[in-house]
Symmetry: C2
């Protein structure tokens, strides 16, 4: 063995050079085998050529000079261990050759079995095993795997040979072939290799081994592996290890066999071994599926000692690795060998149950349990899913997965149709896009599907807020609501037809696909989330507009309301007339009259919110959307006018004309950048005054009832310190008037949203006038990119496909641009007012990757829709609360 | 006189303590009098109490302890100089008391004459002057001025007394009053003062003097003066001086008189004295206008020695101060005294002529001449103006002055009507707002008036580009084009009625107001501009879309084209069908066919531009607006479909339906943040390819003709480095294809616009892929503020009125927010690529205040519409080219 540098590590047969901590050098497989050796578990002995050799090989195109020597010594040790020799015609040593990177990677060369067998040694193997048929079949398998993987002979070449000879022998499967038939197959394979690879199959064991190792190393660079690494951010220079392990044979007789299993059920998490065993077979026979394996549990009867030994070993493995294991084993002539063990992939449901049960038995800590659950996957538990266990039907069209879950229902093409559906079945609302006016239809629908919009279009935001599933930007659908027809590609649907949405993936299916219900009450998940909240460095609040939302949020342990959108209250049917009268008012007194009608209704909403959220902060945003959003669609008013004219109703004509004139005056080319947010408070201060009165009167009232309201009044769409200064004065004046009228006062705080680039740039000045700020990352993303969220679906796909955008900036925060502005703002604010409370209340508040970033730049809390609370709480618990210190004058944009 | 500190400065009678350089201490008047003394010009002797005394007084509420002593000594000197004594009943010394801040300031106390006269000394003055009437009248004047200014008696109290007694005596004017009448007036004034001021008129000269000085000092703090200082950014702690000057009397006999004049004509700039003289009068008699003064020139005949002396003196003054003077003088018994001299206010026309003629005679340098012309005023010369010399008619309504100038024409309410008007008279196009589709109507119109929009709405931008006058955001107008009616407030107009626009002030008048033509060929202005360009630290380019624009720009010495908007070429009538076919194309080959039709037309445009701009850079921006802007209005297509259906024309129905479907697919909620700019190039690279081909083929062609094309290809609306990298590759590929086809190549450069906040934040990364950038400050302002320029007019007024915005950010760059982003971008770019060429091509490129800022943050050039070139060239010449060094890591936002 070479001096300082070690290329090769041994395992098995009481020898051991490595352990599980060395997976960087040994790869996952090699490290697992080393660790099993350490634990005294029977593994066939073998050697692992380290990733360092691969790195050297990839860089220099050759092995290190002293490698061959070390390899020779290692193989000699292996031969001694097993008592056989590579290439010995009478007593050949056969080995498996496998790749093993530190991170499991599809696309890399996997396994070649029986390496070392030659024409010459077939009979030696026959003598060893007592079966010529077994020896011939082993050689056939080697030719097939080596030919395909190392020599790149198309697989179908071998299939053709097999099919021909099976047909000749009328054999249904390979195992029914006669020895003569196998001989013919072997000749056919040899010819196929010579024809396709322009070379003959190597007839020395050393040559086979060498070629196999080369092939593994080269496969590190193949296209699929490179693509996978790029996609998953795996460095290109890790390299792979190669494990050469003495073969044990599960296909040597009926006391032999092979199996795979999990220490616990990976679908349900149930704590019992689950797996399959196939007698007289090698591993690939299970995969091929031509014979039906038996459940591992039946081994308890057919081979009780083996079963007990296996049960004991896998128990050891699970306890040792402190996680569910996915293992492979072989029984050779009644002797058990473990071939591989690794952490098992599992469903979200299983992950939760396993983690919780392992905490209960003291195997892992609660914080480890929290760390093991991927936030992105728990929607599988929380939202209903289409059940594809019977197969996936044809996908009709695709859109953006805007709000997770699934829905199966009858098509409605307008909000009115959705809200008025009499069939009693669930409804899917399908439209070009939705507007605030469609809210009643959305409430009535089980799921939404829109042709336009993106992941933060109106439909998406509202759906997520309500926990309904939603697919947007389904470009291949076309809605003609006038004639009640929905076209999806070539297919035509009518209102009332069934449709199924898989909003977690954005797929649309015709008809009724079976639905698996949500498990919102999952006890395990509740434990995980309770631990997560206890461990969280920062608070997660909920966006909630109604007492019902607030109640749901509190039930999910929201630490307050981070955003209450008061405009959603304005859309209630009984209020719209007053809202519209207020908008159509020609002067301030008229407007005040309508506002006075709205005041008690708003106050009632706030009372409900404060009661639900007693002792927790409730951030109430003042009216935000442009007023024209509250008006009916233009064509409705046009129709009304037409009707009034045809009936010669002078009063109605005048009303409609006034309406039209006002609509025209209010209409905007770009409403997103329009007369909205605090601009409404500047031009119509009486709206702000009404809202402040409603908030504080509500607070006073519920305080008298014994609740503890903590109102935070938030001003939206602020662009400058001057605006905020002016509005702070108006709010304080309105508050003082309320307090004077009631003869008592209550604490409240005033804050603003940072959702315009100018507010971010000037945050240092704005912060002087507020005691909290909340980043509105939706609008900040819109303005920073100049992406209208309602329209961006049209081109954002092209951006993602071409790699110009790495992810949808409305789903995951754009760290370089939008994030750069946020950092800039936070640095200024902390410098001027270190105690300022900073939150995030955009859609990104529910996105794990975004939460990680927000915590890293020093926000104090995030707020998301109640439906996303569990995801956010879990993601928050997994962040590193490494608050950076704000250093004024430091270069601020580092992500571009 | 006190030792180290000097409170009071003497002038006149060969004594002199100060000079013109001391205006900070002496105020403007005091410094002028000191300087005239120095020049040996006859001025009545006097003393100036320094601004330092005022500052002390305002701080301590009293004079410095040693001030009284110095004042006594100074007054004694003054008495000696004149040979009269304050308060001497037989030989009284009278004085004028005037305020005099360093900066002339309306609202401050101005002048009190005849201070020192008492009931007792009236007869002494009568004896001195030989006229009791004169003495009585002088006392009457003192009571009136002192009463109103020092004692704050309402002016009408004195007017009432005068009117009563004039009526008693049947006198038409004060000068016709008898001595007895004057006595009655004096008694009446005394009573009025006692009644209103609760005090009697002080009867010692010292008391009068002291009270007058106090009054001057206090007036520094009055509301109007404070307001004026705030408005003009004058520091509050400068203080005012007080000048006490021996009276000379122009109203003592017929050999006396008083006059005011200018050394050159302040309206036309003609080099001859212009002014008025009134015999036997004091200064306020000229102002009162009750007697008609004679032109100064007539003095040459009536008092030739006086005229000659005055002519010589004013010549000396003009040469000495090197500027046109505005002077006041008095003749007392045939002896000339100058009372004041200062730089004269003048019209833009006069300013230009005077400056140029002073350069020609060597009085000032050409750079001084350039510095003396205010850029904002030269529009008075360049654009036609309404002629208000016959009075200003009633203002019908007001809007924003979006493009300067004036227009008088007949109303057209649609672009079609404007373009098709047969009456041959000029047309004013009036509409709610204009769109790209209205371009032919705008071309045909003399002026534009829109109800909506702001100073950078479509109408405003296009109008300024064409040098047409435009008023936008005229909220009181309502256009009903369907019935051809325009309502402005209560007034109703029809198409064809006359309307007059004063777009320089935003005022709208009914009917035909006389129009004064523009003087675009003004030779003086051409000289000024030539000097300005020679002195400019940085280049001014023009925005030009057509060869005609380019020709106009070159005639005005543009240093290149900074922005050619290729979409304006797409709107030409003969091209729109191809453009629309391109947009409606269902696939790439179809789209390419239409683009091939457009290619030769685009190429021809570019050839024209390159020929006009040979040897100067031409920046061509790739297609920018969303495609739906090129489609006809929705209602037109609806109408077409209706017609087709009524005619049962299946082909037409299908065409219209296809059109509608495509329109629906293209329509956007917020087109400003839509599928536009480089997003079109990402999704339809064939459009970019066509444009690049057209640009470079044109360049090759004109180069072969001997011209020197310098094409710069500019990519709009870039948000990320990844976009720019991708597009740079596409452009280079298209270019290489052109060069390969032609067998020759030509230099071109690639740049981008910085008009999205994200581009500013990430400019350091973007700049790696370009060789120039141009700030699109219009869009950058829109996105940074979240102000849609087409809609912001609705609330921006309220922001300006409430002082939340100091100026319209679309007219003058917002230094704190938008400017902060620009600085941030420039610092990053210069750090990564110091040689990067940085321009500005938004509307702000023509605004003097913005240009000053751009130069201060280190841009290399600005570009503006050809009509604004002179203003921009002049403003650029007046900036300080103090380029700040980019220091990475430096705190970057300093303006908030």
């Amino acid at each position: 063995m070479a001096g300082e540098r070690k290329y090769i590590y041994r395992f098995g047969n009481h020898a051991l050079d490595g352990d599980a901590s060395m997976s960087a050098e040994l790869g996952g497989k090699g490290a697992g085998l080393a660790e099993m050796t350490l634990l005294g578990i029977p593994v066939p002995p073998g050697i692992t050529i380290s990733t360092g050799v691969c790195r050297f090989y990839l860089e220099h195109g050759a092995f290190p000079t002293d490698f061959e020597e070390e390899l020779g010594a290692s193989l000699a040790w292996l031969e001694d261990s097993v008592g056989r020799k590579f290439g010995d015609p009478r007593n050949p040593l056969l080995a498996s050759v496998r790749s093993g990177a530190a991170i499991s990677m599809p696309g890399m060369m996997d396994t070649i079995l029986n390496v070392g067998l030659t024409r010459e040694s077939i009979h030696g193997l026959a003598a060893q095993s007592g079966s010529l048929r077994f020896a011939l079949d082993s050689y056939r398998r080697l030719l097939q795997m080596f030919g395909a993987v190392v020599l790149e002979v198309p697989k179908k070449e071998f299939d053709n040979v097999l099919e021909t000879i099976r047909a000749d022998e009328a054999a249904l499967r390979d195992s029914e072939l006669s020895e003569a038939g196998l001989q013919s197959v072997i000749e056919g394979f040899h010819q196929a290799i010579e024809r396709c690879a322009q070379t003959s199959f190597p007839q020395t064991a050393v040559q086979q081994l060498s070629m196999a190792v080369h092939a593994v190393f080269k496969s590190w660079r193949n296209e699929r592996a490179q693509y996978y690494r790029r996609l998953n951010g795996i460095p290109d220079d890790l390299g792979t290890a190669v494990t050469v392990q003495a073969m044990v044979f599960g296909n040597v007789d009926q006391r032999s066999g092979t199996g795979v299993g999990f220490t616990r059920n990976p679908s349900t998490g149930e704590n019992s071994i689950l797996g399959e065993y196939l007698a007289n077979a090698q591993g690939e026979d299970i995969v091929a599926g031509t014979r039906t394996p038996m459940p591992i549990s039946e081994l308890a009867e057919s081979m009780p000692e083996i079963y007990e030994e296996l049960f004991a070993i896998t128990g050891t493995l699970e306890r040792h690795f402190r996680d569910v294991q996915d293992f492979e084993f072989t029984v050779e002539k009644g002797k058990l060998f473990l071939l591989q063990t690794r952490a098992a992939k599992r469903s979200a449901l299983a992950a939760v149950r396993i983690a919780v049960e392992m905490v209960e038995t003291g195997l892992i800590s609660s914080s480890e349990a929290v760390a093991r659950i991927s936030p992105a996957t728990i929607n599988e538990i929380l939202a209903p899913q289409l059940d594809f266990s019977q197969g996936v039907p044809e996908v009709l069209a695709r859109g953006l997965p805007a709000s997770p879950g699934a829905a199966v229902g009858r098509i409605a093409l307008t909000a009115v149709a959705a809200a008025g559906a009499l069939h009693g079945d669930p409804v899917i609302l399908v439209s070009q896009e939705t507007t605030a006016d469609d809210i009643h239809g959305i409430v009535a629908a089980a799921g939404l599907l829109t042709a336009c919009g993106g992941v933060t279009s109106h439909a998406a935001v509202v759906a997520r807020g309500m926990g309904k599933c939603c697919i947007t930007a389904a470009k291949d659908i076309f809605v003609d609501s006038d004639i009640g027809v929905l076209r999806i590609g070539e297919a035509v649907f009518h209102e009332g037809d069934w449709l199924s949405l898989d909003a977690s993936s954005g797929r649309i299916f015709a008809g009724k696909v079976p639905l698996r219900a949500a498990d919102g009450e999952n006890a395990g998940l509740r434990s995980i989330l309770r631990w997560a909240i206890d461990q969280s460095p920062l608070a997660v609040r909920a966006n909630a507009d109604t007492p019902e939302d607030a109640s749901a949020a509190r039930a999910r342990d929201a630490r307050g309301i981070g955003l209450c959108r008061t405009e959603h209250m304005f859309f209630a049917l009984e209020r719209l007339p007053h809202v519209r009268a207020m908008i159509l008012a020609r002067n301030t007194p008229e407007r005040k009259r309508s506002l006075n009608e709205l005041l008690p209704m708003q106050q009632q909403d706030f009372e409900g919110l404060f009661r639900e959220m007693s002792s927790l902060p409730v951030t109430i945003r003042l009216l935000d959307p442009p007023l024209h959003e509250f008006l009916p669609p233009r064509k409705d008013v046009d129709a009304e006018l037409l009707l009034a004219r045809s009936e010669n109703d002078a009063g109605a004509i005048q009303r409609a004309e006034l309406f039209l004139e006002r609509m025209q005056a209010l209409s905007e080319t770009n409403p997103m950048m329009g007369h909205r947010g605090c601009r409404l408070s500047i031009t119509y201060p009486e709206i702000l005054e009404m809202q402040v009165r409603a908030i504080l009167q509500a607070a006073l009232k519920v305080a008298a009832e014994g609740f503890v309201p903590l109102p935070e009044i938030m001003v939206p769409f602020v662009a400058s310190a001057e605006e905020m200064q002016c509005l702070r004065r108006l709010i304080d004046e309105a508050a003082n008037e309320v307090f004077a009228n009631h003869g008592e006062s209550i604490d409240y705080s005033i804050g603003t949203m940072i959702e315009l680039p100018r507010a971010a740039v000037c945050a240092g000045a704005i912060v002087e006038h507020v005691s909290f700020v909340s980043f509105g990352t939706n609008d900040l993303t819109q303005m920073t990119f100049g992406f209208s969220r309602d329209d961006a679906g049209k081109y954002i796909d092209a951006y993602l496909n071409q790699g110009i955008l790495k992810s949808d900036p409305f789903a995951t925060i754009d760290r370089g641009g939008v994030g750069g502005l946020m950092e800039l703002a936070i640095r200024q604010m902390r410098a001027r007012k270190p105690e300022i409370k900073i939150g995030v209340c955009g859609e990104h508040g529910g996105d794990p990757a975004s939460i990680e970033f927000f915590v890293s730049i020093g926000v104090d809390y995030v707020s998301c829709s109640p439906a996303r609370l569990p995801v956010a709480q879990l993601a928050m618990a997994q962040t590193q609360p490494l608050r950076r210190i704000a250093v004024p004058g430091q270069e601020h944009v580092s992500q571009c």
